[in-house]
Amino acid sequence: MESWSRFLDTFFNWEVIERYFPAIMKGVVVTIEIAAAVVVTGTLLGLALAIMRTFRLLAVNALIVVFVDIFRALPPLVLVLLVYFGLPNIGINLPSFAVLWLVLALVLAAFAEEIFWAGILSIPKGQWEAARCTGLGFLGTLTYVVLPQAIRLTVPPLTNRTIAITKNTALGTVIGVGEILNQATTAQSFSGNATPLMMGAIAYVILFIPVVVLGRFLETRFTWRRV
């Protein structure tokens, strides 16, 4: 029984919880802000790149593919360190949250581009032809006929990928972005107690479980993607 109370004291210490709750909440807000910024900018940039790719300009497409491949192959933390420590030395100073935002948005854009592009390619040629036959131009066909169908197909894989990438906001702790994990480790070292780590972990679970479950729901609802 004594070890049980010691366990509670170490990981669920009420005093520590009370003291550091505001800090963790501040971290939650920062995490949500960065995640939202990353999701919006990354997805839109990915969509824009995929649309650009449909014009099939050789040089442009080659550049897009190189960008996408590099940002899919490199670990985000490598990119974070590269940008955070590298840019100041060539005279560009970005605040650490901007570095995190920039890197994660580019990573998401790369994955999103690939997913949107696969979606666009999977729309049968007949859809393009039918629309062109009614006099719709290339852009009209893309906007009203192809993209709405393609985007539907991309919802489940894009949701899951987006969740995985927004979880990388935790990497911000390495460069001092005051997100949840950063607040938790700081509090842990000040309090000499593991409770803040537990609080941080719980905060993440509360934040991300709903989206993970949503992702699972979307997968089953949009099953026709695997036909």
Partner: protein
């Protein structure tokens, strides 16, 4: 039949090659207003390619195509405006699965012709009514039978008031019991004076609706004539063999 009327569709010396295979080898074909011209021929003879060249879904390699006197190939011709006047109906319907039947029909009315929504819907409903599907306006393609989907596809082309309609095997993806409904719509169109170029193997339909039947093989027109003659007394051996095969 109005002889001497300006042709709606006029194809001269049309050639099309894919890489090093010549699929169309000099096609000459004239379709007069209100005519229904029927095209038959073995698979791979170039029937689809012929239709697809008419609205430049395929780029012809040589020859000329005029629709209502306008050169489809000319650089000055707005191909999107041209395509609107050439209705096309596909074997596989190609309805937009994410839109209701009505929206399938009104999309081009709204986005190409810029019609206000109410007017587009009025025209769209009229077109759906002509194919007997006014009551399915709010259904999605996935909720319709193949025959109904194909009729919606016809309405989609019809709503733009095309000068000529091209049908590429419109009934061959359908279950036999659904073929009749689509052919009836096409008969109605013919009666209403629509000019049509139809690739199909529905011989009975050709007999009572076609003005002329064209037999294609290996990228050329082998023989043409009125349906009675083509089906009962073709002059070419190849035609005879093909028709015997069809009639089996």
């Amino acid at each position: 039949m109005t002889t001497g009327a300006l042709p709606i569709l006029e194809i001269r010396g049309l050639r099309k090659r894919f890489h090093d295979v010549e699929v169309l080898r000099g096609i000459d074909l004239v379709v007069l207003p209100q005519q229904l011209v029927f095209v038959i021929g073995p698979s791979g003879s170039g029937k689809s390619t012929l239709l697809r060249c008419c609205n430049r879904l395929e780029e012809p390699s040589a020859g000329s195509i005029r629709v209502a006197g306008v050169d489809v190939m000319a650089r000055s011709t707005d191909i999107n405006a041209m395509r609107r006047q050439i209705g096309m109906v596909f074997q596989s319907f190609n309805l937009y699965p994410h839109m209701t039947a009505l929206r399938n029909v009104t999309l081009a009315l709204a986005k190409v012709l810029g019609k206000p929504r109410a007017e587009a819907e009025r025209i769209g409903m009229a077109a759906l009514d002509r194919v007997g599907l006014a009551d399915k306006a709010r259904s999605y393609p996935g909720e319709l039978s193949g025959g109904q989907q194909q009729r919606v596809a016809i309405a989609r082309a019809l709503a733009l008031e095309p000068k000529v309609m091209l049908f590429d095997e419109p009934t061959s993806a359908l279950d036999p019991e659904l073929v009749g409904s689509v052919l009836n719509v096409m008969r109605e169109l013919k009666r209403g004076g629509m000019t049509m170029l139809v690739v199909s193997h529905e011989m009975r339909f050709a007999r009572d609706a076609a003005d002329r039947v064209i037999f294609m093989d290996h990228g050329v027109i082998v023989e043409e004539g009125p349906p009675q003659q083509m089906f009962s007394a073709p002059s070419e051996a190849r035609t005879r063999a093909f028709i015997a095969e069809l009639a089996r």
